[in-house]
Symmetry: D2
Subunit: 135 residues, 4 copies
């Protein structure tokens, strides 16, 4: 998260009225969750019973894409379109919740699903926190 | 749109209860809008007064990312997570509306903004149509 | 492809020394191939023997990501970094070739793989053409 | 990088013959560089003389996209397409080198460019290291 915070500090529009710490935490959580979901989808695909993991893989891929886009949009402070920020945070929270639920149901069997569920819950919470602070 | 429709027809889960035509139209509109917003952001950046186009560029970039993610998620029928589909369509509609408004305000001056506003309005309408049909 | 061409025409840097028609064709092929590969990966995932399609799915996902990035980079004319354009075109050609080969081996069994192989071959050829014209 | 390593450890194909540590370092560097370049592009856009930063912004955006795609492809171990891995690493190294050079030329004036140049150099080095280890 260090580099995320450093870049926010160096931004000409850093006084944008959004809680800087929650913003940095959410950006970091989005990128982490996106990478983890990409890894989990691929790990599921390499399991002997990959066919039974189809829903999990698809859910992972959706979550990976939404988290990435959310992380990028939160990184951009120039446009200041609050309605879009709010809408993408809601979509991200929803995707993370769904993916966490799906992965939790395989967590006892697959360590990658357990780790992925944790990353999704962290990202869901970070989106929630940031959404609340936006008012 | 032909290739989008052909791929939907060839999908094992093509009977997923979503209006096939509206789905194909929305996927195609998302990819087209994403490419157009990417092009508009870059064209704005090459204008002599690029500095004055900062908001437009940032809005274009956000819209390009959201449209892409929306187009990808709509393309995936395996997961069947309706709540995520609905949330990303709402975010996409919001991003397209905001980007269309911004680009429309430069449409008389910049042909790329005029074309981009049109693509955004098409995508906004396609998201709206698909959302309504989801019930 | 119409909207790609229209946006290139409207770009302040349209006289950038790259063959305009080949550029438009390659951008359109990249976006089409990316959508098709995303659809093929998901269709494979919904097949009864999804487990046997693991390599195909993974190859599709890689190709979808590279095509998208290539389509976006080609859309940006402001930076004019020829070395990057060349390198990403080479990566895209390689990914399309590999994905076409993989999908062709399932083309008789799965219509989505047949269609995807075709899209990959078109994109491979478009990258090749553009690369040659860059000198 | 911790979560990247943990996910690699949990992957069924973790014995894929690629140096695990260099792979994890490169994935982490790609995601970090992508986020940093996205932030730098946006910060440049908010500078009073954004118009003069057009090349830097465009270079940042290209680098952000290539790093992301590279990070995702490296995360997928199922496909094992070495030729594609090599090609995307070469493209990423090229993009990072170019972006580092561009940002270094503004490093004295803009802290975000200084930080971004550092992230690009780290990612360039990580790609180089991984490429060498692939043989």
């Amino acid at each position: 998260m260090t580099h995320v915070t450093a870049m926010l500090q160096a931004h000409p529009k850093k006084d944008h009225g959004i809680d800087q710490e929650k913003l940095a935490a959410c950006i970091a959580a989005c990128f982490e969750c996106s990478q983890t979901c990409t890894a989990c989808a691929d790990a599921c695909l390499s399991e002997p019973m990959a066919g039974e993991m189809a829903t999990c893989i698809s859910t992972d891929l959706d979550c990976a894409d939404i988290c990435l886009t959310t992380g990028r949009i939160l990184t951009r402070l120039t446009g200041e379109n609050k309605a879009v920020v709010r809408a993408i945070l809601q979509a991200c929270r929803e995707a993370c919740r769904g993916c966490a639920q799906e992965c939790e149901s395989h967590a006892e069997m697959h360590e990658h699903c357990r780790l992925c569920a944790e990353a999704c819950r962290r990202c869901e919470a970070a989106c929630e926190e940031l959404l609340s602070s936006l008012g």
